[in-house]
Symmetry: C2
Subunit: 432 residues, 2 copies
């Protein structure tokens, strides 16, 4: 095999990054692989738009707006999907796999939703499907999870896997910015989309946790299994009270498995300041793993960005290329060993942070402890602070480790108490 | 292939860890690989010693003190070397490879010294040689370097790759311990050997940097290329002055490549406190990479310990097993692309920290600046502190980025100055 021929779907920032890496490292890649990696066709929308990368024009014969020129081209062995979105991208991947072409993608949306189906389709057609770039772009975490720690039993996966929200929370924490200002700055710097919904609502992180937990626990987790809550309601007060209590608020993806039962969530979480993830700041990502044998490991790096993502894609292309040359495409893909088994609210134990606006009256705290005691919940710490209104007070409570279901019940009852004006916020607190 | 048969050389803590993992995860491993992994023979010294793992006796038919029972056994396809040491281990690996058996090892000493030869021998005999466990036991760093970031150009590798010295420096930094007490504690806790020489002198870290830089820069680096200095002379004063200046002292393995020329060193280094490696404490290891495309990534985890190391070994065994089943053993091993090209002292630029004991007289600082100016060196900061002897003073200097050769020359001249009693310490300061 002198050449491995590639069809590239999409030429946005990531597609351009892939093109650039393949051009710039042409020689090294050929040396590594023993074959040239050659882009044969690039699928784009607007065929008339002039395409420049690093001041050089992309040869127009490479460009096409007709997908058939890729899927019906027998020469093309590998398809790189970087158009994004769900439906089109998924359909293109299906077409590629059905045509016997291996697929490399950065598309977390499609993999989180259709990964199981696509993997099976790949195996059926003796093709590979690789998606290292779909989670934490610059960090080879999927490779580490599926190969490097293959002999260990991973029992916990925690991740800061969304750069936008981590950037916003970092600015709120260290530069005392409001949520609104931090989001604006993230948008100005290109760390947040004009419509930031899927990032700030936690959906993007949830998709990545679906991918990581499915692989880590060898179980087909779905997006609906992930309890997901965004950062839109995190207030500066919560950040500063958390700080006083020794915690940093991060949007944490959390997945653990206990006696075969899994919990996966994405939510603003109070992390103890000495937790390795607590110092992962700005737009950086990190994935923390706990394995029975290996103990704690953490992988840190850029979560997104055109070049980190392109690096992960090209690494996957090299792997696919090697497997093509070894004639083993489609073999040894991942099969799930365990049936999907999700913890109920009775089986989830955690600590919680709770901020209440209460009437500054005698007996308020007693009302609250009565409610908590009935649900067998207890406090680790309580902090009372004055508010602007002299008739009211803020109560900040951190619970001991409690059952989620009981905590939810207690919250409902608190709402009914006359002495409580409102529940300002309630977040999970990480504990072992 | 129903079974993959293994010969295990050595049954110390790591060997026992491997045995335990293979037993405990028997089913999962078979599921992953599609074949059983079976230990056929274990080479030990004392055949009469009773061997228990987790309260269960190891079947005596597995044990042998005759290496031939492994190397002449045609059934055995994979040899795991965990006896340690150099000569015996190397010879066993050669015998295994010559007999067509793939080798998995944790032996950094042998790989750093004979890795190139052994890799070639493996390829010649259509075998694999894998050694993930040789660097930073629990962190899949070799896999990340050779596969995950394969399409990037790695330009810098920094590592805290020795747990013993990191433990000692952490205790000196945070618990104000003396070097001696910290070493004693490390020995009591099993983080340091009774003879800690190869750890505290930096040799162990240097071997790991040989392995990492050879792979990262695709160049056959040798141990003699690594400037190596241990932590034995680091004093508490240096740690506290560094702290004042915003730095943490760590034993840092540093390797970079600039215009095709490489520098590799292991030495106590002042790291800015906000560098990702600065907060890697206790016996933990971490490897920091800089790639042109990916930017900064860091891999953090346990550097040693029986189970983390055993995890890495078993992961390699799985990879070897898959390659055996795919009939590709010995193919696509690493070849070095670049010739060994090492920077001279004129080509190394760095900042330095210097602590002098000087006579507390008028004109001392002028003497020093004169020497420095002649070598075109300049200061970033100077700190003068009183000493116990009122006639003397401590001068703490941090230079700007300077040429190593000029700095060495200046040091020599400083020694000749009458106003300088002695050079207490001189360390490299990390800068970009």
């Amino acid at each position: 095999m002198q050449e491995i021929s590639i069809g590239l779907l999409g030429l946005g920032t990531i597609g351009s990054g892939v093109y650039k890496l393949l051009q710039e490292h042409e020689e090294e890649l050929e040396f590594q692989l023993g074959s040239k990696l050659v882009i044969k066709k690039i699928l784009i929308n607007d065929i008339n738009k002039k395409r420049m990368i690093d001041g050089r024009k992309i040869p127009s014969k490479l460009l096409t707006n007709n997908p058939k020129e890729i899927f019906d081209n027998d020469e093309i062995q590998v398809v790189i999907e970087v158009i994004g979105g769900v439906e089109n991208a998924k359909n293109y991947m299906i077409k590629a796999l059905e045509a016997g072409k291996s697929v490399v993608t950065a598309n977390k949306d499609v993999i989180a939703k259709h990964g199981v189906y696509l993997s099976e389709l790949a195996t059926k057609n003796s093709c590979d499907l690789f998606y290292e770039a779909s989670v934490a772009g610059g960090i080879p975490i999927i490779r580490s999870l599926t190969e490097g720690l293959a002999s260990d039993k991973i029992t916990r996966i925690m991740g800061i896997v969304n750069g936008t929200t981590n950037y916003i929370l970092t600015k709120m924490t260290y530069d005392n910015m409001s949520y609104k200002d931090a989001l604006k700055q993230a948008q100005d710097l290109g760390f947040a989309e004009p419509d930031p919904t899927s990032d700030v609502d936690g959906l993007d992180a949830a998709r990545k946790m679906v991918i990581l937990s499915s692989l880590g626990f060898s179980m087909p987790i779905t997006l609906s299994d992930v309890y997901t809550r965004g950062i839109g309601k995190v207030e500066k007060e919560d950040i500063s009270y958390s700080d006083n209590l020794g915690y940093t608020i991060k949007l944490v993806g959390f997945a653990d498995i206990v006696k075969g039962k899994v919990e996966v969530s994405v939510q603003p979480t109070l992390l103890p300041k000495d937790h390795p993830l607590a110092s992962v700041n700005n737009e950086n990502n990190a994935v923390y793993l706990y394995g029975e044998a290996v103990g704690e490991t953490m992988f840190f790096g850029p979560g997104a960005g055109a070049m980190p993502t392109a690096t992960a894609i090209v690494s996957d292309v090299i792997t696919v290329g090697k497997r093509l040359k070894l004639d083993v495409s489609g073999k040894h893909m991942i099969n799930f060993k365990n049936e999907r088994t999700i913890k109920s609210e009775e089986e989830i134990w955690a600590k919680f942070y709770l901020r209440l606006n209460v009437k500054d009256e005698v007996g308020v705290l007693n009302d609250i402890t009565t409610v908590f005691a009935k649900e067998k919940l207890s406090f680790e710490s309580v902090l009372q602070k004055p508010t602007k209104n002299p008739k009211d007070a803020s109560l900040i409570i951190v619970t001991h480790k409690v059952v989620l279901k009981s905590y939810i019940k207690a919250l409902k009852k608190l709402k009914e108490l006359e002495t409580i004006n409102c529940i300002k916020s309630s977040y999970r607190v990480f504990c072992d």
